[in-house]
């Protein structure tokens, strides 16, 4: 695997220390990393997640709007951050591998490097509540 840009290396290192759930995506929409806090939220270890693009991840976790309606992939905050290079925030419902529905706030930011390089995007999650 070729070396990632140092900005992504540093972001991954920071994420690995935080207890805030964080996802890190590369510019090619490849899932590069999620931290232990995100593993807990999803019920899925990072090593089993493979190179999952965000729309596949949304299907796996049955992502819905806070009101319970199906959420098109294009409306996912991480997709907006990656494809439109805009920050995005939304409340979504996901069903983890453990079968628990969780309402989470997702804040996603594009990562821009010097010289206008698009490095990918980072997603921060915050759990608001759980339902069976």
């Amino acid at each position: 695997m070729p070396q990632q840009d140092v900005e992504l290396i540093l972001m991954r290192q920071l994420a690995s220390y935080l207890t805030t759930p964080i996802f890190l995506y590369g510019p090619d929409e490849r899932l590069l990393f999620f931290n232990e806090a995100a593993e807990k939220l999803l019920g899925l270890p990072f090593d089993e997640a493979d190179d999952m693009p965000p729309d596949q991840l949304a299907i796996l976790f049955r992502t819905k709007t806070e009101a319970g309606k199906r959420m098109p992939a294009k409306d996912l905050p991480i997709v907006i951050a990656l494809r439109e290079r805009q920050p995005a925030h939304n409340a979504v419902r996901i069903r983890g591998i453990d079968g628990v529905w969780r309402t989470i706030e997702a804040t996603c930011l594009p990562l821009m490097g010097q010289g206008g390089r698009s490095l990918g995007a980072v997603a921060f999650f915050w759990e608001k509540g759980q339902t069976a």
Partner: protein
Amino acid sequence: MKLTFWGTRGSLPSPGPENARYGGNTACVEVRGADGAMLVLDAGTGIRRLSASLPDGLTRVDLLLTHLHMDHIQGLGFFAPLYQPGLEVHIWGPPSATHDLGTRLTRYYLSRPLFPVRLRDLPCQLTLHDVPSDEFEIAGFRITAALVCHPGPTVGYRISENGATVTYLPDQELALGAREFCPDAEWTSGYALAEGADLLIHDAQYTDEEYPERIGWGHSTFNHTLAFAAATDVKRLVTFHHDPAHSDQMLDRFVEQARRSSALPFLLVGGEEGATFQIHG
């Protein structure tokens, strides 16, 4: 390619009898191409002696800065080519997120009260370049620069000519944030620059005992650098950016211990001021 080490010390010029062999001058390395083309890597205090060795008839010099910490630019005002009218001098270095290299050099060093001569008053034909993020070429050298893990905008360089490759990573903290450093091709700063190089010049400032008190200062331990050199499959490692408190005796001991402790898959050399290396592909 021929390399000459004019300064190998890190952080602070450290002259003294205890440092006579590894030297007290800060980072500066001369790179000569097959046809005599010349690159200078960093402008630490070692650049003053380099200036005195320059041949007559030189028409162009390219100075590649890794970053603007003082130990890498303190000699810049004493770089003789800057004062030679008509001589073409190109300075390459990283911009910050908001300022180009020229603004940063003016703001941080070549201006009053830090230095009496202003950048704009230099009589040479000076061109400043924000270092490109893609491969570029200078006088037959193919050069790749990439940001590395060190406080503030800092790059490392991979320089190739006629099949020979040198990688210059004088300041980088390999293990920042790692619970246990284990070089991984995808997630290790500087990996792509160093991979397969004929000669790697790398930061080896701290001992394992010193590092825990200096995490985040931007430098590597001797042992992390050895692990990095092995993982990147380089042929030779020259340790660099020696701590001001590490005497010749201590640096000799680090090298000897490393050679004795394991069968190193590369040739290990402690970076001494005045050392020269011929690099062939």
